[in-house]
């Protein structure tokens, strides 16, 4: 009672003090106020680094210049600006004319395509097993199987780099020997290293895929399944004609997110062999990092990062738009 009457009174006062047209405008956009706090917080931490990176990419920044005291204030990025100077598009020209950049971009896309395909296949496969009627105790197994998700990536990746030791006693080599092959120099061969990245990435990401796919699978209509059975469809036809269409969009959504994660993968190549052997497997973010830190070229590093962001951004725009992810049930 008291609460609502207080509410009424404040509303009256509000109506008395705020002019009507303004009030209407405010009312119309009131829901925006619910969104604003999150939006502002996110923008602060997202766009400032973005702007700074863009700025750096047009300068000749390197550790010896960028860390000197520059102008303060807004134009000086609150003291972030050092003694670096503008070089226009020079960094971009240098980056785009550098074959290692294109190699890095190529291998990154290859990594994205392969890893997403594997992650989807693997995730959906596990999810199918983990929801099968034939399997007892699947709930329990489902909660165990997400453990990789609960371990810190830096740790797991270190462990995996140990697994892929090219020594004979490395776990991967033992498995390979057990299967009757000869031991491999995993991280010292370009494609072997690439494959080991893929396996690791898959292992890291499958819990997410499984969680999403399981919840999608649980929403598959039993009635449709029955209809297909009565129509004479066998297991694979049912999978293809009923299951796949109904989990397609959730899985696509997960794939897009996980594709973006693959695109920005940094730790695996970094911990395994620094994108080696011989920089052959330098994924794009690692490439930018190497440029920035090993060659002390922050400007060029920033230009690479920005190019990467442009590519991933373009990818996300297309994916989000094509996949109509932003829409809710009430979307157009």
């Amino acid at each position: 009672m008291s609460l609502s009457s207080v509410g009424d009174r404040t509303r009256e006062r509000y109506q008395a003090t705020v002019p009507k047209h303004l009030r209407e405008r405010l009312d119309e956009h009131r829901p925006l106020f619910l969104v604003l706090p999150g939006l502002l917080a996110f923008s602060l931490f997202m766009f400032f680094p973005l702007a700074y990176t863009i700025y750096l990419s047009f300068t000749d920044a390197e550790p010896s210049t960028v860390f000197q005291d520059g102008p303060g204030g807004v134009t000086g990025f609150f003291g972030l600006r050092g003694e670096e100077s503008f070089v226009g598009l020079e960094n971009y020209i240098a980056v785009f004319s550098d074959p290692t950049f294109w190699n890095s971009l190529g291998i990154t896309w290859l990594f994205v395509i392969c890893s997403v395909a594997l992650k989807v296949a693997f995730g959906v496969g596990i999810a199918m097993i983990m929801t099968s009627d034939r399997v007892k105790g699947k709930r329990y197994m489902r909660s165990i199987i997400i453990i990789p998700w609960a371990l810190p990536p830096i740790f797991t990746i270190t462990i995996w780099s140990g697994i892929f030791s090219s020594a004979r006693f490395g776990l991967a080599n033992q498995a390979v020997i057990f299967l009757g092959f000869s031991e491999q120099a995993w991280l010292n061969d370009r494609w072997m290293a690439f494959a080991s990245y893929l396996v690791t990435e898959m292992w890291l990401a499958y819990p997410f895929m499984v969680i999403i796919t399981v919840s999608a699978l649980q929403a598959v209509s039993d009635e449709l399944m029955d209809a297909a059975k009565v129509d004479g469809a066998g297991y694979f036809h049912r999978f293809w004609h009923v299951t796949v269409p109904s989990i397609k969009r959730p899985v696509m959504f997960a794939s897009i997110l996980t594709a973006a994660a693959s695109f920005t993968q940094f730790l695996i190549p970094y911990v395994f062999n620094r994108g080696g052997p011989n920089r052959a497997n330098e994924l794009i973010v690692l490439h930018g990092y190497q440029e920035a830190f090993n060659f002390n070229a922050y400007g060029a590093g920033a230009a690479i990062m920005m190019s990467a962001v442009a590519f991933i951004g373009a990818f996300m725009i297309v994916a989000v738009w094509k996949g109509r992810l932003a829409e809710g049930v009430d979307g157009p």
Binding site: S64, V66, S166, R274, N278, R279, F295
Partner: protein
């Protein structure tokens, strides 16, 4: 379930502090006068080292009216890179001397040559140089480190005199199917450096600022490792794998540094440490590093804090009791002249440390030129390419040089 009274706090007694050691009567510890500041020190010492180091630091704080706060930082390079320019860095940090050039160039360091209160040459001999760059004093040395030969006494009683001998023993014990190997030797550019250097080559000439990877001597050194030694090692060039075979008692030899001693388990086998054996008449010459207490640029901000910080660095690097303790317990090879100059005192060092100290004598200091930082990675990449048989050593070194030169541009 047991119960205890609330008050009883735990007091984990450490295993003996510097009190157990006497200070050297000839070498007086440099002690500060009326300091009163606080200062921060960053380090990334490992577990046991950290405990003892911090205990010593506390005793300094207790003795004098200073408050030096130690912080264990997990990724010191990244942290200093971010914090120092932002003005949030410490006064002191501890690391090997090879950062000095680059950090000097970035303006991360403070020159304390005018303020230091004792004669460095006198205390540290030529090691004093390692804390200098461009004539400025950026740090004080407290320990040296390098790679030597650790051998398992269950396989060999005495360390081999020559590498040929060593390889014979290695060949005898090398049987991967059975889980035993000839030797362990991390194949990164640092650990392997003894050979290219020993054969007369060099990675980088600090004076001239020139690369020496394609020198025939350098190449020869690498080729010897590849052709003669690699076959007796586990197939993974990475350090962890190489060390593991030795640590588990499955290989007679390991080339590694004093930091490895903490990993060795006395219950498993006895070991010894020796300098590098001769190889075809050459003496291998590993890179040596000198651990510094760096003076960071924050010392230029506040004199009081700077005084406290500097006082601690002076006290710590000149306190022979502390140095002896760290040497005994953690394999920190002293650079203090008290332990090097008069032969009599040398006995104070354990056998293990004597072995490493001899290896230090064989070695040469890492270059400090900022440009040198760009050498490590391409060199290692290409060297591993050669190890894997993808390239000849000569080609690999040529490629490494061109990559490094690219980076310099």
């Amino acid at each position: 379930i047991s119960t205890e009274e609330p008050e009883s706090g735990d007091d984990d007694g450490g295993n003996g502090g510097a009190e157990d050691y006497d200070e050297h009567e000839d070498w007086e510890t440099v002690e500060p006068e009326d300091i009163s500041g606080e200062a921060t020190l960053w380090h990334s010492l490992s577990g046991g080292e950290q405990d003892d180091f911090e205990a010593n630091l506390e005793s300094f704080n207790g003795q004098f009216d200073a408050d030096i706060g130690p912080n264990h930082i997990s990724d010191l390079e990244e942290q200093t890179m971010a914090a120092i320019p932002a003005g949030d860095g410490p006064e002191l940090f501890m690391w090997a001397h090879d950062w000095i050039g680059e950090y000097h160039q970035n303006g991360f360091l403070s020159d304390q040559s005018a303020d230091v209160s004792f004669d460095l040459e006198e205390y540290f001999g030529e090691n004093a140089e390692s804390g200098m760059f461009d004539g400025e004093l950026h740090g004080l040395p407290h320990a040296a480190e390098t790679v030597g030969l650790i051998y398992n006494k269950e396989y060999v009683d005495e360390p081999p005199e020559t590498f040929e001998e060593l390889l014979d023993i290695a060949a005898e014990h090398h049987d991967p199917e059975d889980g035993t190997y000839g030797l362990g030797w991390p194949m990164d550019a640092y650990h392997v450096s003894a050979f290219p250097h020993g054969f007369g080559g060099h990675y980088y000439d600090d004076e001239a600022g020139e690369l020496g990877l394609t020198n025939s001597e350098t190449v020869e050194g690498f080729e010897y490792v590849l052709d003669e030694v690699w076959e007796y090692m586990p197939g993974d060039p990475d350090g962890e794998a190489q060390e593991a075979v030795f640590l588990e008692g499955n290989a007679p030899f390991l080339f590694s540094g004093p930091w490895q001693l903490g990993q060795l388990d006395e219950d498993e086998f006895e070991w010894g440490v020796a300098p590098w054996p001769e190889v075809e008449g050459h003496t291998p010459s590993p890179f040596t590093g000198v651990q510094l207490i760096y003076f960071a640029s924050a010392m230029d901000e506040d004199d009081e804090r700077a005084d406290a910080a500097r006082a601690f660095a002076e006290w710590y690097t000149t306190n022979t009791a502390v140095i002896a303790q760290m040497a005994d317990d953690h394999g920190f090879i002293p650079v203090h002249n008290a332990f090097a100059e008069d032969g009599e005192e040398e006995d104070e060092l354990t056998d293990d440390l004597q072995g490493f100290a001899a290896a230090v004598d064989q070695g040469q200091p890492m270059p400090v030129d900022p440009d040198f930082q760009a050498v490590w990675e391409p060199l290692e990449d290409e060297w591993w390419e050669a190890l894997n048989g993808n390239k000849s050593v000569a080609d690999a070194m040529a490629d490494a040089e061109s990559r490094i030169e690219d980076a310099w541009d």
